[in-house]
Symmetry: C2
Subunit: 109 residues, 2 copies
DNA sequence: GCCAATATATAGATTGACTATGGATAGATT
DNA sequence: AATCTATCCATAGTCAATCTATATATTGGC
């Protein structure tokens, strides 16, 4: 049996970066935001999220800062960098090109 | 450096199955068809294609038959099975749900 | 004779997302 | 006080899918 993924592989980084264009957020909040905006269709598991955030940090696309949440918890807030914004733009247009291409293949006749 | 995929991962089986709804085809022809219909955006590498076809055979979603091509070469023609047609339907609707969800996340504000 | 295009296939590497686990704290409930 | 739920971070190990690279073989054109 094929394991049903909670995400379309290859789209996670883009979703995270996009989420951070709205406001800096901690990891848990990013996952919540994606889940909520997608009406529970997209669920980002912790084992996908945190490695992804490490990747993004390493690439310099986000930066992180420890802060207190409104509820007084310690959390790591991620902010989009200019390089991250540029990267997001590229991923978005690449994604649109791909989706359009897939659409053409899926068209009838 | 991130390797740029020629496909949106997770969509290959769907693309192959869809291609076979038009007519039975050999592997090389499937790749050609996807490439052409997508205006060269989607390129299915051999190392992706043939393993994918093996998976589909194993799942019973396609069946294969050795034949001669129009140009007199020996080639393996793949045909969609009823189970494959059903599978394609499920993958298509799942895909649409995902794309719609991603679209919501990518919307501004 | 040689080369490009057609045709199949596997081995091995890489990537990305998953499961499973470990930790810690706040706030509410019992 | 103890326990539970939700919030929060992170890593190790696994698995599946795609990629690169390679091997083989045939047809047709130059």
């Amino acid at each position: 049996m094929a394991k049903k993924s909670e995400l379309l592989p290859g789209t996670l980084d883009m979703l995270i970066l996009k989420t951070l264009t709205r406001a800096p957020l901690h990891g848990y909040g990013i996952a919540q935001s994606i889940k909520r905006l997608s009406d529970d269709v997209l669920t980002v598991e912790e084992g996908s999220l945190y490695p992804a955030l490490q990747r993004l940090l390493l690439q310099g696309w986000v930066k992180a800062e420890w802060k207190k949440t409104e509820t007084n918890r310690r959390a790591r807030y991620y902010t989009l960098t200019p390089a991250g914004r540029k990267q997001l733009g590229e991923e978005l247009s690449q994604f649109e090109v791909m989706i359009a291409a897939i659409g053409r293949v899926l068209q009838d006749a």
